[in-house]
């Protein structure tokens, strides 16, 4: 997903650039204490680890191979803020030194490969930690689900960016279906590898895993995974979560969707000048009435509502990990 220069239009590059820079800046402030006092070399060396792990191919099935993206994994191992900072450095160096991903595409590449997998993956991890038992088995399962969802989320983000910044008249729905479809599969690899990696670390140095810092020695020794029904519920929640995001876009305004895709991607970039077809210009001239913007707001709002309802449900669920009656 290292998109090259010119993949999305300039306005999208600028807006995603601002979003990424803002988020990474906030992550840096959050991680400041940690990074000042101990961990700059540690963050750098774990960044090298993530980079190297990304070069490690693994088979998925039938001759296809995948490789780790590592956003959710880094967030779970190092905490979301340091994790996001570490992956940011990886993505920037890949563009700058290895010409892997365009320099002017850094805005959306950072959003898709660093910010969204790290924070989105971590949020999903936390969500499942609540649902699953507080044991190392539960941590491993939550990591797997977070890894999977994180990759799907970034493919969704990529599609949404295409909706705004398309440089060719390929409809959003088409891009969305292809991207999300492929990443539902690729994501399983990410999930499995992330989960097994965390499992290995839990077995030798559980103290190093930020996302398992709440476990005591007894809970760490408990490697039993969640029981089948629990896992099933977790899977359903994950699927529902993804489905609800998808449906927000499908149901919001199917006709409008096509029209917007046509306008932003095709008509505009074909006939008008660069700045007039960018989201920037749309904001300036049409503001919130603009269909693209209102559609996106509908999608984002819908996602937030689903997340909030999900949280509410999970808060109501008694944590199976707290089995002992105190």
């Amino acid at each position: 997903m290292h998109a090259p220069d010119g993949f999305l239009n300039a306005g999208t590059a600028v807006v995603t650039g601002a979003l990424s820079a803002g988020t990474v800046g906030a992550a840096l402030r959050q991680a400041k204490h940690y990074l000042q006092h101990r961990q700059v070399p540690l963050a750098g060396i774990t960044a090298a680890f993530v980079f190297a792990a990304q070069m490690f191919n693994f088979p998925i099935a039938a001759g296809t191979t995948g490789h780790l993206l590592g956003g959710a994994l880094a967030a779970i191992l190092l905490g979301p803020h340091v994790g996001a900072v570490v992956i940011t450095v990886v993505v920037v160096v890949q563009a700058l030194v290895f010409a892997d991903g365009g320099l002017t595409a850094l805005g959306y590449n950072l959003l898709n490969m660093a910010v969204i997998p790290a924070y989105g993956g971590y949020a999903v991890f936390k969500l499942f930690r609540r649902l699953l038992p507080a044991t190392s088995g539960g941590v491993v399962a939550a990591t797997g689900l977070a890894g999977w969802v994180s990759v799907v989320l970034s493919s969704m983000a990529f599609s949404i960016e295409w909706l705004f910044g398309a440089t060719a008249p390929v409809s959003f729905t088409r891009v969305f279906a292809a991207m999300v479809g492929v990443h539902l599969l690729i994501g399983t690899g990410e999930g499995v590898i992330s989960a097994l990696t965390v499992g290995t670390v839990l077995a030798s140095r559980p103290d190093l895993i930020a996302g398992a810092a709440d476990l005591d020695a007894g809970q760490i020794e408990d490697t039993r995974g969640p029981r089948a029904p629990t896992l099933l519920i977790a899977g359903v929640v994950a699927a529902l979560f993804l489905a609800s995001v998808v449906s927000q876009f499908a149901f919001a305004d199917p006709d409008g969707l096509e029209r917007v895709a046509q306008e932003t991607g095709f008509a505009a970039s074909g006939e008008e000048h660069l700045l007039s077809d960018s989201v920037f210009a749309d904001y300036a001239t049409a503001g919130i009435e603009n269909e693209t913007v209102s559609l996106a707001i509908a999608g984002v709002a819908g996602t937030l509502i689903v997340l909030a309802v999900g949280w509410g449900l999970l808060l109501g669920v008694k944590r199976p990990g707290r089995r002992s009656a105190v």
Binding site: D5, L35, Q36, A48, F51, M55, V85, A99, A203
Partner: protein
């Protein structure tokens, strides 16, 4: 990511381009790519000019065409995507070699191909003429937050070490007949990754000790020699200035 080795990125030469201060080169490359990115795709002539200007700079830097070509293969996945666009895109149909494709899609494919290739070629040229540590130094000079720059420097320093260690682990697995075919067999790979994370973390702690032992107090000392002079900036900026002029003309004309 096959070319994970830093020395495969740099072309050892002594050209004027090599000698330029890294921050000037970095800023120049970035602005040149930005000029390319905002150029309307219909201005085909402009992309030809960009390619010419860039080729002149790379020739002056004595970057071998073969080297450039091999490194450019890295953008192939997106080239494949670009070739798909005319077939899946909507809009007016035109006939190319007897096949009906979308005319707008063709323009879209051209747009991505041209900009991606020029962008990648510029980045490749930058890395070919600037050693990696200098590139990172340049980031610092361009006011990228110091913490990010330091993390990047540590990452670059330990990347090969860790990649080689992982490679050796993988080799040791293969030597004992490990040949996974599907996701259900990847546990050893993840075990290696987990072990590698623990080792990386512990190395991080040891390096931190080694830094404390030499008086580190939480802030990396500034070791940079004097930054880029006006001459560096002037020389480096000829590239993006040319780019901006081309882009401006293209925007006005199209």
């Amino acid at each position: 990511m096959g070319a994970g080795h830093a020395h495969a990125l740099y072309v050892h030469e002594h050209s004027a381009v090599h000698r330029l201060a890294p921050e000037a080169k970095l800023a120049a490359a970035l602005s040149f790519i930005a000029a390319v990115a905002v150029t309307p795709r219909e201005a085909v002539w402009a992309f030809g000019l960009y390619a010419l200007v860039l080729a002149l700079v790379l020739a002056a830097a004595r970057v071998p065409p073969r080297f450039l070509f091999l490194r450019l293969l890295g953008i192939l996945p997106f080239v494949a995507f670009a070739f798909l666009i005319p077939f899946v895109a909507t809009g007016d149909r035109v006939e190319v070699l007897g096949i009906e494709v979308s005319g707008e899609g063709l323009w879209g494919a051209w747009n991505i191909l041209a900009k991606a290739t020029l962008g990648a070629a510029t980045s490749i040229g930058l890395a070919a003429t600037t050693e990696v540590p200098k590139l990172i130094e340049g980031l610092g000079a361009l006011k990228v937050p110091a913490v990010l720059v330091s993390i990047a420097a540590f990452m670059i320093r330990y990347l090969e070490l860790i990649a080689e260690e992982l490679g050796r682990m993988r080799m040791a697995m293969a030597a004992r007949g490990y040949d996974p075919h599907w996701l259900g067999q990847v546990k050893p790979i993840a075990a290696a990754a987990g072990a590698m994370f623990v080792r990386s973390y512990e190395r991080g702690e040891r390096v931190h000790s080694a830094m404390l032992a030499r008086g580190y107090s939480g802030v990396m000392p500034v070791l940079r020699p004097a930054g880029a002079g006006w001459f560096d900036w002037l020389l480096a900026m000829t590239l993006p200035l040319t780019g901006v002029v081309i882009a401006a003309v293209a925007l006005v004309v199209t």
